[in-house]
Point group: C2
Chain length 214, copies 2
DNA sequence: ATCATAACGCGACCTGTGTCGCATTATGAG
DNA sequence: CTCATAATGCGACACAGGTCGCGTTATGAT
């Protein structure tokens, strides 16, 4: 699991509240780390259904009243975990070919969610975010960021002439990713590698055919 | 939090269990209708977050203990609503052209969820189903049914030679629908008509390019 | 029509989430 | 270092969600 990163409470403040943080010093930061780590651990262990503030409090060694005061409840905790997760950037592929880039993207998603060892963590995190209206808002921002980053591969491809001018880069990314999330979190179908492969291939074909030209 | 598994879930049993229905007579049926209607109404009014068994009991005029006995809680209610909803079939388009059929499908989805008057009902229902692990299972069955029906348009198109032999019909449908559900329920982005248009166009292009050939 | 009982109504009661007031500790400024 | 106070610890408790036992009503078989 990711370890002690000392982050100022700025992010939490900017997404959850407008009030200034008065004492961003050591203790608050330590408690935030401990609590969010405990939240992720609980999430991986018991999932969202049985996720309780008390268990997180016990696991982190922080009193539950503190959790309610700072995060307001389970939803706020999930949202803050998402904020922290979104801050860890990833390497956008740049293979020189749109096909390979798209395949790399869908493959990263596929691997991340289906890894038998660590896949439960992001999977349960997304499920949890989908089940909380507050965290769902944080999730929207998360995807906006990820889409923006990933769209770069399409922008480059257009410059190389691999896709028509005027192609909506983000829409290509959406089309590539959507089937994976659709299966995992909407229809509940199993996610296999061939699905990731086909999603990338479909997005590529559609982009080349000009389906995303504005 | 322990749920006695041996509860008679009545109609729900026909899809989830093998237990026989002992008294399907008038009263039980009336109560089921009243309760599920109240559930949908509450869902449309207050959404899943503020959905409570007590409110549904009050609205339907049925005692809450009865609701807990028959449905086990909010999750079971949502699941049963889904089962009842899935029983109302829809007219699969058959325009003679794969492009028009796919556009008709994505358009139906778009219209159903974005209708300013009645769109909140199916929207909140899906959200509710996504937020309950029990109802999520019912949702999986729901989509399996819908996909199977919709895939017919692709099967016919293959016969007409509009798509390559060996095309995975359901995968074409998934690719057409996924971006809509992705926006609505995963990323939380607004769903506009152009998105429905592009999704159909993308699925068509990918199918014609052979991206879904097994 | 009669009867056994499935299904429901009713209200008390249990459980645990979330709140509140106050005590205690840690932080940052002077 | 000292001090004001932000932040957390602590336990009591209010209250909604959910359960249970029993009485009542409706159902279907005889």
């Amino acid at each position: 699991m990711s370890m002690p990163d000392r982050q100022p409470l700025k992010q939490l403040e900017s997404t959850l509240s407008d009030e200034p943080i008065r004492r961003p010093g050591g203790r608050s930061a330590r408690i935030r780390t401990a609590v969010l780590d405990a939240t992720l651990a609980e999430l991986a262990d018991v999932g969202y259904d049985r996720l309780t503030v008390e268990a997180i409090a016990a696991r982190s060694g922080v009193h539950k009243a503190t959790l309610y005061r700072r995060w307001g409840g389970v939803d706020g905790l999930i949202a803050d975990v998402l904020v922290r997760s979104a801050e860890q950037p990833w390497q956008v592929p740049d293979t020189g070919s749109l096909r390979d880039d798209l395949h790399a993207i869908t493959r990263v998603i596929y691997m991340g969610f289906t890894d038998p060892e660590h896949g439960a963590v992001p999977r349960n995190l997304i499920v949890a975010a989908l089940r909380s209206s507050q965290a769902a808002r944080a999730l929207t921002g998360f995807f906006e960021t990820q889409h923006g980053l990933a769209a770069e591969v399409v922008t480059r491809a257009v410059r190389r002439g691999e896709a028509p001018e005027g192609t909506d880069a983000v829409d290509v990314v959406r089309t590539a990713c959507a089937p994976l999330y659709y299966r995992l979190f909407v229809t509940g179908e199993p996610l296999e590698e061939v699905a990731a492969h086909r999603a990338a291939e479909a997005a590529l074909a559609a982009a080349q055919a000009g389906a995303f030209v504005r």
